[in-house]
Symmetry: C2
Subunit: 438 residues, 2 copies
């Protein structure tokens, strides 16, 4: 696969650059903002994910001969614009919510300050990555809370595109999952990978006993045996007969889990396998995980629901021009007027207001001179949220690669811990804290 990310975008980003170059307006300094008008799925909070991937993708956003010859052959842009694209690299500034941070309606997740042409080119790529990864992280964060401290593994690669699967494993890990089944996520991002055997492995062998013996011979008694291919009770008995009472775990992938899990725990204990753990994996989502809170489950494997955002496969984020220099060089705030798609023009900074005890109370969006400016500093409520991600075209340290993932995972843990208890409700409803513009 080609490494440039420059064509992972919409045709109209290029034609807008073409027309603006010709009109002499392409170089006007502009501020674009990436935000969500509402929390998709009536969630109580959103989780920003994908930021590190986006920063890496922006570094690879270059028009090489492959991209330029396609644009030329298809006459997408003029010859003059092709010359401009050949030299393109993003030279502006991007402030943003660092990865793992929670967000609310209107939160300016990215503030892109650059020429119009540079900023508009990043629209589609930024939205693709943040919409998809944040949808997974937002769902995953709810599941982590529902699991109440028990470990969750992401196992949904088969239910999303083969490259989205890697991004999903990464986003779920940032939101607090402990492992993934996806090997490329392990190789690319250092996320712990896990997995043992599927039903096909049992079915391949003459008997379940043969299959278990083969697995234990290869993977040791610490492995997890899948006990529900035929009869679960018999499967558990056979598992302990073959592995002994030191068997690591049994996995259950079918049945009425709250009932089945209790029976299996009882049986394992009766057989002396008191330390053998139980892991369950049957089309779980945050609601079924929560329903197993009182059951003797030791860990969860979640597939489909986490990678498709548990009913909300995209966050509905948008990327809007909010300010630009006019012909005289003066800054003007702009916003689309259509009633149902209104946006708030102008530069913004953010503080998350908190009580003395550190509980978040408001998402304060401060109109004024933008992140790092005086308007942000004038309000002493709460803490700052925005961080400089790219300065003068240079990606800042700490947000990308494995360090970025580790920081994002820790940041998510502390950010979600600040939220009021209502944030943990799994019902549809209002955002956990209101957004206030000042």
């Amino acid at each position: 696969m080609h490494t440039s990310t420059a064509l992972l975008t919409d045709h109209y980003e290029l034609t807008m650059v073409d027309a603006a170059l010709q009109a002499g307006t392409a170089h006007r300094r502009s501020v674009f903002e990436l935000f969500a008008r509402r929390l998709s799925g009536a969630r109580r909070y959103g989780v920003v994910a994908g930021t590190g991937r986006l920063l890496e993708a922006i570094e690879r956003f270059r028009f090489t001969d492959q991209e330029l010859s396609f644009l030329n052959e298809q006459q997408v842009v003029s010859a003059r614009t092709l010359d401009w694209l050949a030299d393109f690299r993003f030279t502006g500034n991007i402030w943003g919510y660092p990865e793992g941070e929670v967000f609310f309606p209107g939160s300016p997740l990215l503030t892109v300050e650059s020429s119009f042409a540079e900023g508009v080119l990043l629209e589609t790529l930024s939205l693709s990555i943040l919409n998809a990864d944040s949808a997974v992280a937002t769902a995953a964060s709810r599941m982590v809370h529902a699991a109440a401290g028990k470990p969750l593994a992401e196992m949904g690669s088969r239910r999303t595109g083969e490259y989205s699967a890697i991004a999903a494993a990464r986003a779920a890990y940032i939101a607090g999952f402990t492992a993934t089944s996806n090997l490329e996520a392990g190789r690319s991002y250092g996320i712990p990978t896990m997995g043992t055997a599927a039903h096909s492995f049992t079915l391949l062998h003459e008997t379940e006993r043969d299959a278990f013996a083969a697995q234990i011979a290869a993977l040791g008694t610490g492995t997890t045996l899948l006990v529900d291919t035929y009869d679960i009770e018999q499967g558990v008995r056979t598992a302990i007969e073959v592995a002994g009472t030191e068997l690591g775990a049994v996995r259950i992938d079918s049945g009425d889990l709250p009932v089945v899990v209790r029976r299996v725990r009882h049986l394992l204990d009766e057989l002396g396998a008191t330390r053998t753990r139980i892991t369950v994996t049957n089309d779980l989502d945050e609601h079924t995980v929560a329903a197993l809170a009182a059951a003797p489950v030791d860990s969860f494997g979640v597939g489909t629901s986490v990678v498709v955002g548990s009913g909300t496969p995209t966050m509905g984020m948008v990327y809007k021009l909010v300010a630009h220099e006019d012909a005289s060089g003066a800054w003007v705030s702009v916003a689309k007027k259509s009633a149902e798609k209104a946006s708030v023009g102008g530069r913004k900074s953010v503080r998350r207001a908190r009580t003395a005890a550190g509980v978040a109370t408001k998402e304060l969006i401060l109109l004024g001179d933008g992140p790092g400016g005086t308007s942000e500093g004038q309000d002493s409520d709460g803490r700052t949220v925005l961080e400089p991600l790219i300065v003068g075209g240079t990606v800042q340290p700490g947000f990308t690669g494995r360090d970025g993932i580790a920081a994002a995972r820790e940041r998510h843990r502390t950010s979600v811990a600040e939220l009021p208890p209502v944030a943990m409700s799994l019902t549809r409803g209002d955002p956990a804290i209101p957004t206030e513009y000042r």
Copy 2:
């Protein structure tokens, strides 16, 4: 990005190979089947997509030093298995529903005949690609029908992962969309790309008139002007004043579309722009497209809903071992017994039964000696469906690349035309034709 696809898979596929190699069962000839137990979203038919991408991905399924060193460092498999993987290439046969074909519950979309180890390694990759791409194509096909012959453009890149966006553009095109906004889909697959300008382009300029003039100067009067940044009626008037009555089209992205579109058509006609087309793009799905059937819309742009499968982002397909050779070399049919996840063991072939007039009546799944065998030939009802996709490890011609996409698009057109009228219902319900096992 790395070109091998071998780690786009689950950890347990590798540990199963490891255990089966050690047990001496890895080389047993096996038959795996990829199918959907039901049609997700209670759709009336499914559309197979991704097959061409999968065949290309299987050709790149090789363990190079990068993959092997990761598996070694992480001790995913033993040294012996690493040696086996180093030489791996798929040498078996794959029969399948060719891309673009419609399908029903139980339809064997892929039949993979190989050693157990070779077949099990392809499970996750096959499911990732077919589940995701087929979800898009299935939704897109409904939208194409709802549009009743008017062209549809796919514009949803920003609402799905940056690589899934390319696959989604491809799947929508196979299902009958006419174009995409995604440039990489144009470059990789030759799909026509389109796009003109967004609201930010209008907002950048001092006036809407300046923005329209700039766009027309660069793109000509055949372009599409976005007229709803401020007031739609004024936008239309300004568009025709600037472009003249030969303006190609206006785009409307907000408002109560059936009402707004009629007003805009009336106004355009009044202004003499009787040939200026109207394109609409406001969070459309198959239902809102259908609701515009009687409105004077000339074309549709569909974003979010098509790339996320319009409520069904994955098809829920599974990949199951259905038969294998036992220790004595005899073939045995196998199936998991769990009540809610039962599967039908054994090799299968398929005929789509039809009336004398050519209307599909049943999906006949014939148990016996499999595709191309005598059981398929014994039943003269209808037409065959399965085709050999890979023979002895070699991808067969006609299914991959741009030729494959063109063939799939045409195949979809003819396959969906065979279905009874109930197939076109947008309500939830039973499959358009029943699946019958013989």
